[in-house]
Every structure is written in C-alpha cells, then in structure tokens.
C-alpha cells in the first residue's frame, strides 16, 4: 500500500499547488518579478545548494534515481528551448541524446571502430557538442521551413532513422548488441568509477550551467526573436526577424544540451545499445516539459522529477501481484492521459511561464489550432460543455 499512499500524497500536493497557484500565484510572481535582480541568484543558489547537500543523506539507490532525474531534467531543459521557447515540436529529440552517447562510445574506443586518438570524457565533450549541433542544423536546415505539424513528424522519423542506423551499422556501433566498456569519467586522473554520487553532482552542475545559459539567451535578442516566432511567425518575418536562423539556433542548442546528457549517460552506465534510444524517451521528455510548463525552466525541472519519480513509486505496485503488474503496464497510459487532460484544462503546465500561459490560453490569434477561435459555434472559454453534436 505504501506506493499508493505516496502516489496519493504527490497528487494531493499537485492539487494543493494548483489551488494555491490560482489564489496566490499572480501576487507571488509579481513580487518575484519586481525583485528579480537579486532574488534570482538567491533562488538559484539555494535550489542547487539543496540538491547538492541532499547527496549526503541519500543511499546509492536514491542517488541512482537522482542521476536518472538529473539527466532527464537536462534533456527536458534542452527540449524546452526547442518546444517551449521557439515553439517547434520535436518528437525525435532522443536522436541527439543518442548522437551524444554514441560519440562518447566511439571516440573513447569502446566500439568496434578504433579511432587513432586517445581521448577522455572532457576532450570528447566539446567534440560531441559540436557534432550534435551540426546534426541539429543538418536536420533543421531543410525541415524548419515547414509548418509545425510536418516538423513534428519529420523529427519523429529522424529519431527512428538514428536508432535504426545505430542498430544496423554493425561495424561502427556494434549493432543491436550495443557498446560495452565505455570509459568512466575521470577527474584529475582519477576515475569516478561506479559510485553514482559524483555523476549526480556533475549532472547537477551541467543543469546549472544550462539553466544560466538558457536564461541569458531567453532574456536577450534571441529570446525575443523566439517569442515572436512562436506567437506569429509571419509577423515576425515581416518585422525583419530572420526566423530560420533563430529556429536553427534553438535546434542546435537543444541538440547540444541533449548530447551532453547523452555523453554523461554513456560514461556513467558504460553500456549503450539502440534500445536505449526509443521513441518513448522523446515522448517521456516531452511529457516532462509539458507537464512542468512550456517555457519555464523551474517548471521543466519539476516535470522531470515527477515523470521519473512517480513511475519509481509505482514500481512497488508489482508486490500487489497481477493487478499491480497491470497497473505497471498502464503507467505510460497514465502519462498519456495526463497530457490530454493538461492540454484541456491547464495547457500552460504546473509551474507556467507567464507569457507562455497567456499564449496557450488562446491569447495569440494566429497560433490557434484547427477550427479554433473563428467558429461561431464556439462557447465562451469558461464553458466546458461537450458532446453537443
């Protein structure tokens, strides 16, 4: 019963949060926005401080989970740049994660292909980032001109291509058997080994760096261009925003962050195979972004925690026997349902970005979807009636 109780309490907290946010959220945010200059470093440092200090209290299993949450949060932050900021739906995000992981595997000479250099994690890191960014630009260049729904399916196809290529290219990736014996990360010549703690801290560090970079980009000219593009691309183009360039930047940055996640992942688990890079990972990360709040860094991290910790809690359900196993099978479906319900009732996510919330609520006329808005049959936004065919 413990997992069910824990789950119930998490759901209760979410509901309490939603209620509190509706009552007080606006005032809290105004308070924060006015004092952002000094509040941001305080919030930022205390947030990462808490998570860093947490390591001393966690056992190995919890730290492993922490690492899982960590690299997922990193991926979610990268995807947030693409989906949340630039408004481009990427369903093949796992491909860049795979590119990073395989770059680490191949360049550290763990795969069947031997490279003439002897590189360690820190030397491969920038190479992997550059390779992923180039991959992102190669994919994005021709496809980012397309309308959003096409982009979604092309990226989905691309994700599958990368996985199938990894599976079939035996001479480079060792095919379906995967690559084993990838070198662990070393710091000052000392290998970090199998202990999850340093990897957890390292991931935390990467998240902090990514958060700062993404924040400063979003507050710059680039961020304003992204906002213009996702709200009304035609108008942005007319105002002289080079939309393709900024979309490519979003894609490349997203790819770079995913590749960092992939490289840390590969160096930590030392084994990767094509099955680690299935479509469901892309959808998982997307769920984290959507659940937490598109365009909101804090929200995305909350989303990543929820999406990894909740299934972990449900794992205890297998003790309940056959019914528990069925529930375990159903957990992806629960995420699916959550996505649908979120899109209907709270499209802006749990910890929304304020600007994005206004857009998702139908503020921007152009972004409206199929038969939205213009139809005379449409009731007031508050109405939730259904089924009157």
């Amino acid at each position: 019963m413990r997992p069910l109780l824990a789950l119930a309490s998490v759901i209760a907290i979410i509901f309490a949060w939603a209620y509190g946010d509706a009552r007080l959220g606006g005032r809290v945010r105004t308070f924060y926005d006015k004092r952002e200059r000094w509040m941001f470093p305080v919030v930022f440092l205390s947030f990462f401080g808490v998570f860093a200090v947490l390591t001393s209290f966690l056992d190995v299993a919890k730290l492993e989970l922490g690492f899982l949450v960590g690299y997922n949060a990193l991926l979610a932050m990268g995807l947030n740049v693409v989906v949340g900021y630039a408004g481009l739906l990427d369903l093949g995000y796992v491909a860049f994660f795979a590119v990073g992981a395989y770059t680490m595997a191949i360049l550290s000479n763990a795969g069947p292909l031997q490279v003439p250099w002897d590189l360690n994690f820190w030397e491969i890191l920038p190479i992997g980032i550059v390779i992923a960014m180039i991959t992102g630009v190669i994919l994005g260049g021709p496809t980012l001109r397309l309308r959003g729904d096409y982009l979604a399916i092309v990226t989905l196809g691309f994700g599958e291509i990368v996985r199938i290529v990894a599976q079939n290219l035996d001479s480079v990736t060792n095919g379906a058997r995967g690559v084993t014996g990838i070198e662990n990360i070393s710091v000052f010549g000392k290998s970090l080994g199998l202990d999850p703690k340093p990897y957890y801290l390292l991931t935390l560090g990467f998240i902090a760096i990514a958060a700062l970079l993404v924040r400063s980009m979003n507050n710059s000219r680039v961020g304003r261009a992204w906002a213009a593009i996702r709200e009304d691309e035609v108008a942005a183009e007319a105002m002289g925003v080079p939309t393709l360039k900024y979309k490519l930047w979003a894609f490349a940055i997203g790819a770079a962050v995913a590749a960092v996640g992939g490289m840390v992942f590969a160096a930590k688990v030392t084994f990767i195979d094509p099955a680690s890079f299935q479509l469901i990972i892309s959808i998982f990360i997307l769920s984290a972004v959507v659940l937490g709040g598109l365009g909101s860094t804090a929200g995305v991290m909350v989303g990543a925690v929820l999406i990894n910790v909740l299934p972990e809690m449900l794992r205890g359900l297998s003790k309940l026997g056959a019914v528990g196993d069925k529930l375990l099978d159903a957990r992806f479906g629960i995420f699916g349902l959550v996505l649908v319900v979120m899109m209907i009732f709270r499209p802006e996510g749990i910890v929304p970005s304020r600007r994005r919330a206004a857009e998702m609520r139908g503020g921007a006329e152009e972004a409206k979807g199929p038969l939205g808005g213009g139809l005379p049959a449409e009731p007031a936004p508050a109405g939730g009636d259904d089924g009157a065919a």
Partner: protein, 310 residues
C-alpha cells in the same frame, strides 16, 4: 552491398507485387489522415491506434466465429464489420476525448499535437493492459496460395484480395464524398469551415463523420494487414507513420494523393529494401518522408483541400 546492379535485376517483379500490396494498405490508412487533415487541418497522430483497434476488432470477431481449424472466406467477409466498427469507434472516441474539448477552447496548434500524442500513448496502454505483450495471429481464413503466374512472378490470392479491397474502398469513398449529403458537408467544411457553418452545416457532425469514415478505412486496412501479419498493442506505429508519409508524399488533404502516395511508398520501400537489405526498409521510408518535405512539401499532387476534393 552491391547497390544499383543487384537490386534492379534480382527479384524486382516480386518486389513490385509486394510493394503494391503493402502500398494498398498504406493508402487505406493514409486516406484517414488526409480526410481529417482536409476537414480540421490537423494531423491525427493517434490514427495508428485506430488501425490497431481495427486489428483487434478483427481478431476478437474471428476468434469468436471461426472454429479451431481456422475459418473460410465467408468468415473473412463477416470480420469486415467488426474491424470497421472498432476502427470507427476508436476514431470517434479520439475526436470526442482528445480533440473536441480543445477545439471548443480554441487551443493552440501545439496543444492539439501534444493531446494527440497523449491519446495515442493512452490507447496503446489500454491495448497493452487488455491483451498483453505477445503477438497474436488472426485465425487463418484463407490459405495464401499463388493464383496467377506472369512469367516468373507469382501473384497470391491475398495480393489480389488486398488490392481489390483497396480499390473498392476508394471507389466507395469517392462516391461518398462526391455524391452524398455528408460528403457535400465534408467538402464544404474542407473548403471554408466558417462559411459552411454559417450556411447551416453542422460542423461537429461533419467532423464526427470524417473520423468515422477515416476509422472505417483504417479498420479495413487492419483486417487486410491481419491476413499476413500478427497484431499486438503497438502494431499500428509503423504502418501509421508510413501511411502518414504516404499521405504527405501524395499531397495531404488530397484523396487521389493518398492513393498515389500509398502505392508509391509501398513500391519505393520494397524495391529499396531489395537494394539495401530488409533491415533498412524503415529508414528508406523515413528518408523518403524527409526528402519529400524538403523538396516538395505539398506532395506529388499538391495540397488540394481548398479545391473541393476534400
């Protein structure tokens, strides 16, 4: 991998037949994407799950009506109804559950896509909990045997049935869209939803019918698929995404385009597999998708939604 020389000579005629058969199934599923796109300007990402529902509808029905030593052609014809019913039911449920509430709220495009993905994930998980992870083969209704031999090429009875059924469905669809009242409604909404609505077309009704028609076509495709391949909870993913590719290849929103795209994709994929090996089949299909979108995003015949072809 000797590329160009090998694949043209080896078993090209055989691959042509295989390509047309697979392509027919892609075309039927692609019609579902195209119809919904024509009316709602929405890519129904969860259409794969409609197809899967069709396979299960056929499976359950055939398990019920056939004896332990398989069925006959009559059973196959009888299974068309449950396959269609299952497809249509899930399609309408998707519309009601995942799309209509968003339409009412005037949600953003991104919301529709995410909702569709969520619905897809949910449906897969329903199938998984219901049927488990194992593959299930439909009871045999007709034994696959060659009935036509042209030169070295053998054409099996299943090939003929699949192709003929596809043609019959497309002719039926054409009649439905061009000659019936609901078809007129579909064309009107595809052309200009707002005006159609002002002229008294009940949009929700037209949308529901569009999903029913698309779901039915996917149901028939599912039954035809089941003549050869087994089913399980995620069986719809690949045919679904390939059918989408086919719809885009032909020109999404265009009925003839879906037909042409389906058959071409089937052929390209099968002939390509002859060149690079079967393991690369899916990569070929996805690469075609990327290339089409790069060089001719409106497809071979173009997007023709506005010209009244639904």
């Amino acid at each position: 991998m000797g590329i160009a020389s090998e694949c043209i000579t080896s078993d090209l005629p055989l691959r042509l037949v295989g390509g047309l058969t697979t392509g027919s199934i892609y075309a039927l599923i692609a019609l579902g994407y195209t119809l919904v796109y024509g009316v709602l300007r929405l890519i129904n990402f969860a259409h794969s799950e409609v197809f899967t529902a069709g396979t299960f509808g056929a499976l359950i029905a055939l398990n019920l009506i056939t004896g332990p030593d398989g069925g006959n052609a009559f059973h196959l014809v009888a299974a068309v109804v449950p396959a269609i019913a299952a497809g249509a039911l899930v399609a309408v449920a998707l519309e009601r559950g995942a799309y209509r509430p968003l339409r009412r709220r005037g949600a953003s495009r991104l919301s529709f896509l995410i909702s569709a993905i969520g619905a897809s994930l949910f449906m897969q998980s329903v199938y998984l909990v219901w049927r488990g992870r194992g593959y299930e083969q439909l009871p045999e209704t007709i034994r696959i045997r060659p009935i036509l031999e042209i030169g070295r090429v053998q054409i099996s009875n299943v090939d003929v049935i699949v192709f003929a059924a596809m043609i019959a469905m497309v002719v039926g669809l054409d009649f439905l869209v061009q000659r019936t009242r609901i078809g007129k409604g579909i064309r009107a909404v595809a052309q200009d939803a707002e005006t159609a609505s002002m002229m008294g077309v009940n949009i929700d009704r037209v949308v529901t019918w569009t999903f029913i028609i698309g779901g039915s076509l996917a149901g028939v495709a599912a039954l035809l698929w089941g003549l050869r391949f087994p089913t399980r909870f995620d069986v719809g993913f690949l045919p679904g995404i390939k059918a989408f590719t086919a719809a885009v290849l032909g020109g999404i929103g265009n009925i003839r385009g879906a037909l042409l795209g389906g058959l071409s994709l089937g052929l390209i994929e099968n002939i390509g597999a002859g060149c690079f090996g079967d393991a690369w089949k899916d990569v070929i299909a996805f690469t075609v998708l990327v290339l089409v979108l790069m060089f001719r995003p409106t497809g071979i015949l173009g997007e023709e939604v506005a010209e009244g072809k639904a």
